[in-house]
């Protein structure tokens, strides 16, 4: 009974978005009201619990919103300067093949941005570029969404993997190899899915071999970095391998087809991309140059919360909520890139007087709707977490199906990521539960945890909070239901693949 009650908000949101085509802010509002009612009536939520849960949710939301707002600002600066339009006319010259464009931009470049960026940045940045080069807004959101999922755990400078280490207490040397293998296989499958999504079966057939080699190179790059202690830049290293291989493939194809090698106006492409190049340089400097990050991370937004107990006795231990290092936050890095990009475009004479006000006003007006849905859904997720609803869901799934627990483990991670929109949050919430269940059932813990984080990574891309980001920058606000419907099949294939890989790995380890 408790299990089905805890499941209701998830089903409601999915039904409203997928079947009734409600937007994320409406569905989030409805899901929130239902969660609030169920948590008070059936899960013993009291005023104190709700108060602290809402403040934790606000911190989590701020963490997300800073990126959402700044990513859109970065895009608006580029768009106002005509850069997106320029990229739209220049990139088809690198390869006129729509399939290769989808692999290059929607998969490899999206993974690169996930490696160096963070929550929602790949979709927010790439969706408008794909729209600009002629992809439909729906496809422009779907391709990078599918494309970057495999890179989430070791992306964002390894924050999700770090959460796995922190919550389980297991060393990275043990956790990294299986996680990198699972996500590497998911990477290759992702390439095929991106090829299929962009042009159907014929496209998949045509791009099957190139996708395989690009995917394999990214998987190998990520594995090498993850298992040599560089897990915080493993997805970044993998995507660099991928970029090198895919550009080599495009060059070979162009040479074979005897296409004029001077077709691409590199100077104009670099000028148009200067906003994003600045972003990459800033992120690399902050993350890799010693001393820069600690210097910028001196001012932190941090609140310590007391132990919280529901009326039914479910306890959340005392601790700090989401800590936000204001000046080194990914959102602030995007803001720095926006400001520098603005100055560069201004210097080039691409921005007319008064453009700053126009950019700011449009960013504020466009982002309000998306922000509402993020605030509602994160609140809903945190209430579920603090009243034990999320725990009830996970326990119901794992104990009820203990014989096939290895198959189910990735789905638990996936639920957490879908609800919170974050691989990190899913790892924080479910890793210990997965570890304890694995020990109880005598399954190898590291394999179950690899399944947890890989399932969460590929499912996080379909989370409503993430989808809203891409939809808003591609001009699809209010049509998130369509995006979810398009995305759900690919996401399920990826989670299912992780489930099968986990089951096989458990079977092999028992031999």
């Amino acid at each position: 009974m408790q299990f089905f009650l805890a499941l209701t908000p998830i089903i409601l949101i999915l039904a409203l978005m997928a079947a009734f085509r409600w937007g994320a802010s409406r569905s989030g509002g409805a899901g929130y009201i239902l969660t609030l009612s169920i948590s008070i009536i059936f899960f013993g939520a009291n005023l104190k619990l709700l108060a602290y849960a809402h403040m934790k949710a606000l911190l989590l939301s701020l963490d997300v919103l800073m990126i959402v707002w700044a990513a859109f600002l970065l895009y608006r600066v580029a768009d106002e300067a005509g850069a997106i339009k320029s990229i739209g006319t220049i990139l088809p010259n690198l390869t006129a093949d729509k399939g290769m464009q989808s692999l290059l931009i929607g998969w490899v470049f999206a993974s690169f941005l996930q490696g160096v960026g963070g929550f929602g940045v790949p979709v927010a940045v790439i969706a408008p570029i794909l729209v600009g080069i002629g992809f439909t807004p729906l496809l422009a959101v779907v391709l990078p969404s599918i494309g970057h999922g495999w890179a989430v755990t070791f992306g964002s400078l390894g924050s999700s993997f770090n959460a796995l280490i922190a919550t389980t207490g297991l060393p990275s040397e043990e956790l990294a190899p299986p996680a990198a293998i699972f996500l590497g296989i998911a990477c290759i499958i992702t390439g095929w899915l991106v090829a299929y999504a962009s042009g159907g079966k014929s496209n998949l057939k045509k791009l099957f071999i190139p996708s395989f080699f690009v995917g394999l190179s990214m998987a190998i790059g990520q594995y090498i970095a993850a298992t040599t202690g560089l897990w915080n830049i493993a997805a970044f290293v993998g995507s660099i391998f991928g970029l090198i291989v895919i550009i080599a493939i495009i060059t070979i194809q162009r040479a074979k087809a005897r296409i004029n090698q001077n077709g691409v106006d590199w100077k104009h492409l670099l000028m148009a991309l200067s906003n994003y190049i600045v972003l990459i340089v800033i992120i690399l400097v902050v993350q890799l140059v010693p001393g820069v990050k600690p210097f910028l991370s001196q001012i932190k937004l941090k609140i310590n919360f007391p132990e919280i107990q529901s009326n039914l006795g479910y306890t959340t231990p005392a601790g700090a909520g989401r800590t936000i290092s204001i000046f080194s936050h990914a959102g602030m890095l995007l803001l720095y890139a926006s400001i520098i990009g603005y100055l560069i475009y201004k210097k080039m004479g691409l921005l007319p007087p008064g453009s700053a006000k126009k950019i700011f006003n449009e960013t504020f007006n466009k982002m309000t709707g998306s922000s509402i849905s993020i605030l509602s859904m994160v609140s809903l997720a945190v209430i579920m977490e603090h009243t034990g609803m999320t725990n009830t869901l996970a326990e119901g799934i794992s104990t009820g199906l203990h014989a096939i627990f290895p198959f189910v483990a990735p789905w638990i991670g996936a639920i957490g990521a879908f609800m919170t929109g974050s691989n990190t949050n899913s790892n924080v919430v479910f890793s210990v539960l997965q570890m304890k269940t694995a020990l109880l059932l005598q399954y190898p813990v590291i394999i179950i945890l690899a399944g947890q984080t890989a399932g969460a990574a590929v499912a996080s891309v379909a989370a409503p909070t993430k989808m809203v980001v891409g939809a808003s920058t591609a001009g699809m606000s209010g049509r998130e239901g369509e995006v979810l419907r398009a995305l759900v099949g690919y996401t399920l294939i990826l989670i299912l693949s992780i489930s099968i890989i986990t089951t096989i790995a458990i079977a092999i380890s028992g031999l």
Partner: protein, 60 residues
């Protein structure tokens, strides 16, 4: 008709901004209430958050 549409659009935009600001600032109110063990602030804040979510639902 166009004037009506413009009016509706402005109203919707205003609705969204109100919803956004309530959702941003009410958690601080309930947190303040919890810290000071003042149930009234928590109740007011929770009602505001619930109303903001209802606004989000009816704002198509």
């Amino acid at each position: 008709m166009n004037a009506f549409r413009n009016h509706l659009s402005k109203f919707k935009s205003r609705y969204q901004k109100i919803t956004f600001f309530i959702l941003m600032f009410s958690p601080m109110l309930v947190f303040f209430g919890a810290k000071n063990e003042n149930s009234l602030w928590i109740i007011i804040g929770m009602i505001l958050i619930a109303c903001a979510n209802l606004l989000a639902i009816i704002n198509k």
